[in-house]
């Protein structure tokens, strides 16, 4: 019964976040526009050498996704702060982790949708041919997005009540994401080049370990962060 109630809360929060975002539109359009702009600007910096652009494509793609996702994380708590809704959220009885999981699922859907648009744009801009290993590449994208959203949602809750939250979030988040980004970039790069040296597997295992560790740690720590 408790599990049913908890799951109901998780779904309610994810639905609420996605519905308010879909209706306001400003957030998603801004996130996608930033992602595409970063791809274009890095393209200018690296071009016109087509080989250099292809070599850098995996790294640039993940950086564009990260910078754009930070906007989404900030926004997911801004909606709660606008009219004191965060306090109301805290007044509901029940497990605190449900708030975190609901927001995490909404952010995953949001970032996933952003990647659906930004990745094809990156493939065209950087003249990358779609590899035969594309299903594995999709798996790496999902694992990388999970890592980014897990910590992004967590640190956004921590920084949300600070006046300097826009600055604080990247300062907290980026150093912690280095292992996940490195693994996601290297696995993606190997897969885009056909994974001749069978490197992608090891990097993917690191990404899975990172996601599992931080999914557990953030769920355990969230109650202490949000009640502080």
């Amino acid at each position: 019964m408790t599990w049913n109630n908890d799951w109901r809360r998780v779904r309610a929060i994810a639905w609420k976040d996605l519905t308010t975002e879909r209706r306001s539109k400003a957030g998603f359009n801004g996130v996608v526009a930033l992602g595409v702009t970063i791809l274009v600007l890095f393209g200018f910096a690296l071009g016109p050498d087509a080989q250099a652009m292809r070599d850098a494509s995996a790294g640039v793609l993940w950086l564009a996704a990260l910078f754009a996702a930070v906007l989404a994380f900030n926004r997911s708590y801004q909606v709660e702060l606008e009219s004191g809704a965060l306090e109301q959220l805290l007044l509901y009885p029940g497990s605190r982790w449900t708030i975190y999981t609901g927001k995490l699922l909404a952010n995953l859907a949001f970032v996933g949708l952003m990647l659906v648009i930004v990745v094809p744009v990156g493939i065209v801009l950087y003249q990358v041919s779609v590899p035969a290993t594309w299903p594995a590449l999709l798996g790496v994208l999902a694992l990388g997005a999970t890592g980014i959203c897990t910590l992004g949602t967590f640190y956004a809750s921590m920084s949300s009540r600070s006046r300097a939250r826009e600055v604080l979030l990247p300062l907290l988040l980026f150093p912690m994401l280095v292992p996940a980004l490195l693994a996601a970039m290297q696995a993606s790069k190997a897969l885009l080049n056909g994974d001749m040296m069978h490197e992608a597997g090891a990097w993917t295992k690191l990404l899975v370990a990172y996601d599992v560790i931080f999914l557990i740690a953030t769920h355990l720590a969230f109650e202490h962060v949000i009640e502080a």
């Binding site: 809360r9 519905t19 209706r23 306001s24 009219s83 004191g84 809704a85 306090e87 007044l91 509901y92």
Partner: protein, 221 residues
Amino acid sequence: MAEPTSDFAIDAQGVARRFGTRWVLRGVTLRVSPGETVGLLGANGSGKSTLLRICGTLLRPSAGAVNVFGHDVVREADAVRARIGFLTHSPGLYDDLTARENLEFAASMLGIASADVDRALERVELTYAANERVRGFSAGMERRLSVARLLLSKPQVLLLDEPYSNLDAAGIAMMSGIIAELVRGGGAALVVLHELAPAAGILTRTVTIQNGRESTAAGVA
């Protein structure tokens, strides 16, 4: 585990709260019995809302203790939350959701049937705006919707921070009716007020907070 019992709906003993170096509350003792509606008065910055937020688990006391029907607000916060209805100063609504969607979200968070949503909307006379987004609501309509959300949980203790603000005459009568109804059913209410007049008909007594301490406990004629 045995349910804690208490003769008091709210039992605050020596509650102090500090923000930085400034003590806002310096040892408030206040007891509210079931069936009582207590008005909390005081100048701006006197600590009325701080005391209410401590009773509502939104703030922890720096010293002292508060129990709600025998449950400690720090150690048993979840049990306290299940018994209170807290109307905060800000509405806490989502502008891009409709009135009904806001209440359905609250119902999901509370684990109650969404059938209660229509009854709550009817009680605050907002049925006509049920499918409109909150973004277009007046401050008074937002207040009514916040009250409707409060009714969903059928609280035993009402914590109300300036509940009459932004309400017209009909809204004031409705609010007094809702408070009186809940208190008659064995509950209690602690109401922060700037003006006594709107609530005068329903108050059992008033308590004034001055210099971080309760200074007056007066019956209301």
